[in-house]
């Protein structure tokens, strides 16, 4: 009986957790459906919801102030959402999809620092809800009354949203726009207004979802990325744009987690399996399974090909004499760098970081640009390379160069597995699947104390004597990074590169001329993983230690930002973007506590000024304006 009681208690706990998850995911899904923007800042809205609710309770007064404070938080976040849409997103609806994504990444940074500035770095736990402080006995166990309230909120909001979407003109327009927003415009509906309203509504739901967690979960600055990951999973599992699907998925995931906690450590055939450790990955496992089996989600519908298929990408430019001269000058400068900067040894240290970032970003660009596969989990291969190097070194004591050669193969092996699944999908779904695998890899590394050092990571990964000097290590890094970038470029200009681009531009036509599209994409994915792994291995030896952060989603996002910042349509893009990002990160972080906001602000300005990326912009200045984009 007691086992049953604790099982029921965990199930109820899962239901309570599902409600907030559903609110966030429903908002994300609505916004994506209508605006086609994948709003990475949605988790930030959730986080702001908790913080604002915390302050509002304090301001209105604890006790009776609790319920109004929830509303204040929801409305405040809704207003923030509306402002974001009006001031930022509205200006970039015609920009390529990935640029919109970059803008929302930048928002995450800005909002995080705004919260840091307003509420400080400490965790803040709110008061309990008046009237619901006690607990209710269920099967002889005490269950918090507030959790029962939360269990009701999920279906309640689902019902209200359903009424809004089916019984009002606004809802009808939202559903119509989710299918064909251009046609809605041609029927006289001002999309700008509709988009603002939807964005505000979605943000409000996220804010409410956060505020409702006030007594259960402390407000922290990590909630944003944590929440967005979970919300993406729910939206994908439930089916993009399906609100009931989001509820079902939130329920499924919350319950699976609850069951894992309930199971605890179980012995199966003599092996102790800790199910409670699975809670970090269970949602990503579910998402991976759903994406492979039913990519459009549980209650979603297979999507028709997107109507507005972006601008056709220009062919890659073969390097002309100007570009060659610039490259040669750059290489010379890099070779001479240690000599030039002998007065300030830090320059070489920073240069190593930049070079590693360049290789990482170039490998990501290799699949994102020419192959059109937008990986959101590229840090997995960086991390596999880094951990591969550290573990090989410690376990075998092999010489560093051998380790440096073997570690990328570890990453490539990971990419073989993930790539096999990923090339079966495209677009957002592919992005989400790569993210899911990366999160699974992260969770394993994070929890496997015996093998990976768990959350502490591994230390003592130093290169041998002859590379101990930073300048020597710089020389090695420079040689390997140059070689890596050169090889990746050569591949793009070889027949295999043509096949990649053909597969990106039209799967059907590429198929028709005899290209095995999936195979080409798979090989490309593995090549990209291999070089990301090399970057990771170089990174491990340059720092002497390695932590799970190296394959965290934050690192993947860094890579995306570098590629997008530089511009996805040029080969110089990832090089410029990685250098700029790493340098900005370094300088800004040393000059202010609020480096994220500065960085985010700079990215936003760049996005608004140069929707083609920095390198794309520079190329335009040098080579003149080509095929003018839409005048609208």
């Amino acid at each position: 009986m007691d086992a049953l009681a604790s099982f029921v208690a965990q199930l109820l706990n899962g239901l309570a957790g599902a409600s907030s998850l559903f609110l966030v995911a429903a908002g994300l899904s609505l916004i994506f459906g209508v605006t086609r923007i994948v709003n990475f800042a949605h988790g930030s809205f959730y986080m702001v919801g908790i913080y604002v609710a915390y302050s509002a309770v304090a301001w209105i007064g604890e006790g009776p102030g609790y319920w109004p404070a929830l509303l204040v938080a929801a409305v405040a976040v809704g207003i923030v959402g509306a402002l974001v849409e009006i001031l930022l997103l509205r200006r970039i609806y015609h920009a390529p999809e990935l640029f919109q994504l970059l803008a929302t990444f930048a928002l995450v940074l800005v909002i995080k620092d705004a919260a840091l500035w307003l509420w400080g770095p400490e965790e803040l736990l709110g008061p309990r809800a008046p009237g619901l402080r006690g607990s209710v006995a269920i099967l002889g166990r005490q269950f918090p009354a507030y959790d029962l309230f939360l269990i009701v909120v999920g279906p309640l909001v689902l019902g209200l949203l359903w009424l809004l979407l089916t019984r009002t003109r606004f809802g009808t327009l939202v559903r119509a726009a989710t299918q064909d927003r251009e046609m809605v415009g041609a029927l006289g509906v001002n999309q700008a207004w509709l988009f603002t309203a939807v964005f505000a509504l979605g943000a409000m739901l996220a804010g409410l979802g956060g505020a409702l967690q006030l007594p259960r979960e402390p407000a922290t600055l990590e909630l944003d990325l944590h929440t967005i990951g979970a919300a993406f999973v729910v939206v994908v599992v439930g089916g993009m744009g399906s609100i009931p699907g989001a509820y079902v998925a939130a329920l499924l995931i919350a319950e699976l987690k609850a069951i894992c906690i309930w199971l605890g450590v179980v012995e199966i055939a003599g092996v102790a399996i800790s199910f409670s450790k699975l809670t970090l990955v269970v949602e990503f496992v579910v998402m991976a399974v759903v994406l492979v089996v039913r990519p459009w989600g549980l209650l979603g519908r297979p999507q028709a090909a997107p109507r507005q298929g972006g601008a056709i990408e220009a062919p890659l430019r073969a390097p002309d004499s100007l570009a060659k001269a610039a490259t040669a000058a750059l290489v010379l400068a890099l070779v001479a760098l240690p000599a030039i900067s002998s007065q300030s040894p830090y320059v070489v240290v920073l240069a190593v970081d930049i070079l590693i970032a360049v290789l990482f970003a170039t490998s990501l660009h290799f699949i994102m640009g020419p192959a059109g596969m937008h990986s959101f989990g590229h840090a997995a291969y960086f991390g596999l390379g880094a951990y591969g190097a550290a573990i090989l070194l410690k376990a075998t004591g092999a010489p560093m160069l051998a380790v440096l050669a073997a570690a990328p193969l570890v990453a490539a092996a990971g990419a073989v597995v993930v790539g096999w699944f990923s090339v079966r999908l495209s677009g957002v779904y592919l992005a989400m699947l790569t993210l899911a695998f990366a999160q699974i890899a992260w969770a394993i590394v994070y929890q496997w104390d015996a093998f990976t050092g768990g959350s502490n990571g591994l230390t003592g990964v130093w290169p041998p004597e002859w590379l101990a000097d930073k300048r020597a290590y710089y020389a090695l890094t420079l040689a390997l990074v140059l070689a890596g970038v050169f090889v990746l470029r050569r591949i793009l200009h070889a027949p295999f590169g043509y096949a990649m681009r053909a597969a990106r531009d039209s799967v059907l036509r590429a198929d028709a001329i005899g290209i095995d599209v999936k195979r080409v994409q798979w090989v490309a994915f593995v090549i990209a993983g291999l070089f990301a792994g090399l970057a990771g291995a170089l990174f491990a030896f340059s720092k002497g230690s390695i932590s799970p952060e190296s394959l965290h989603v934050g690192k993947s996002v860094d890579g995306l930002v570098m590629v997008l910042l530089g511009g996805i349509q040029t080969l110089a893009g990832p090089v410029v973007g990685a250098a700029l990002f790493t340098w900005l990160h370094d300088t800004v972080a040393r000059s202010t506590e609020y480096w994220r906001a500065m960085l985010g602000g700079i990215i936003l300005i760049l996005v608004l000024l140069f929707p083609q990326g920095v390198a794309g912009f520079a190329r335009q200045v040098v080579y003149g304006r080509r095929d003018a984009r839409s005048e609208r």
Partner: protein
């Protein structure tokens, strides 16, 4: 015809026989107010220029056919007027106001309705909901008289098929029913002028006939129509005047009757 609502149009029209009604309007109808005036319109998809300095006009009360073979640029002309192409150049005036740089929703709000050739029904929405998306407030002509105002009930009378299935999702209708719905949806905006893209394409002959009736009925209500069409017979049945497009340029302008009689032009630019 008998199912249609009461005529509120200020222009009494002879109603005996469709083609008589069409031909009854004097060639050129030079006295009526110009609703839509298109001058030197060029349009692009990406880097490809599709239209080259197209000139055309539609007057109040007219049905004007825009003829041409497949790929001549008929649909592009209509979309360019709406502002739904990648890039356009030229002067566009609708009822005296400049719409050369207007967004599609502004054009629609000005009273210019658009019926796309690929229908673009909202398949997840019911018939009634599809109509709701198109709804706009009633309008008045500049002289103060009331423009034709459409309600779902009136439209269900005009298209009895739709009236029998207001709660059916758009995705579960036949091609002909979808064709009616896309027209009805645009009429919910109470347009002065409808840009109608190949209503006779790919539907059964009985639907084609209904479409012809519908166009004449609209005309009777005082709604003007710019009709993109390849089907000479259909165009002849309903239109007053015609333009012929080829490779994005206007090759012929004249009355429908003259075009119908001009074998040379028809052989050169139309597939007959």
């Amino acid at each position: 015809m008998s199912a249609a609502g009461p005529s509120q149009g200020a222009r009494p029209l002879p109603r005996e026989g469709a083609s008589e009604a069409a031909r009854a309007v004097p060639a050129g109808t030079g006295h009526a107010e110009v609703l839509l005036d298109v001058h030197a319109l060029s349009a692009w998809y990406g880097a490809a220029q599709i239209l080259f300095d197209v000139d055309l006009a539609v007057r109040r009360g007219e049905v004007v056919a825009l003829m041409g073979r497949n790929g001549a640029g008929k649909s592009t002309t209509l979309k360019a007027i709406m502002g739904m192409v990648d890039r356009r150049r030229g002067t566009l005036a609708f009822m005296g106001s400049d719409i050369s740089t207007a967004e599609p929703h502004q054009v629609a709000q000005a009273g210019l309705g658009f019926v796309p050739e690929d229908r673009r029904i909202f398949t997840d929405l019911t018939v009634a909901e599809n109509l709701e998306v198109g709804r706009q407030p009633p309008r008045r002509w500049s002289d103060g008289s009331e423009a034709s105002t459409w309600t779902p009930e009136r439209l269900y009378r005009l298209f009895p098929n739709l009236g029998g299935m207001p709660d059916r999702p758009g995705g579960r209708m036949s091609g002909g029913e979808q064709q009616m719905l896309t027209v009805a949806r645009t009429l919910m905006g109470n347009p002065y002028l409808v840009l109608l893209d190949e209503p006779s394409e790919g539907v059964a002959p009985v639907i084609v006939e209904q479409m012809a009736h519908m166009i004449l009925e609209l005309k009777g209500q005082g709604v003007s129509i710019l009709l993109s069409e390849q089907n000479m017979h259909f165009a002849e049945l309903v239109s007053d005047r015609a333009y012929v497009l080829e490779k994005g340029q206007i090759r012929y302008t004249g009355t429908m009757a003259d075009l119908a009689a001009d074998d040379e032009v028809r052989r050169a630019y139309l597939s007959l």
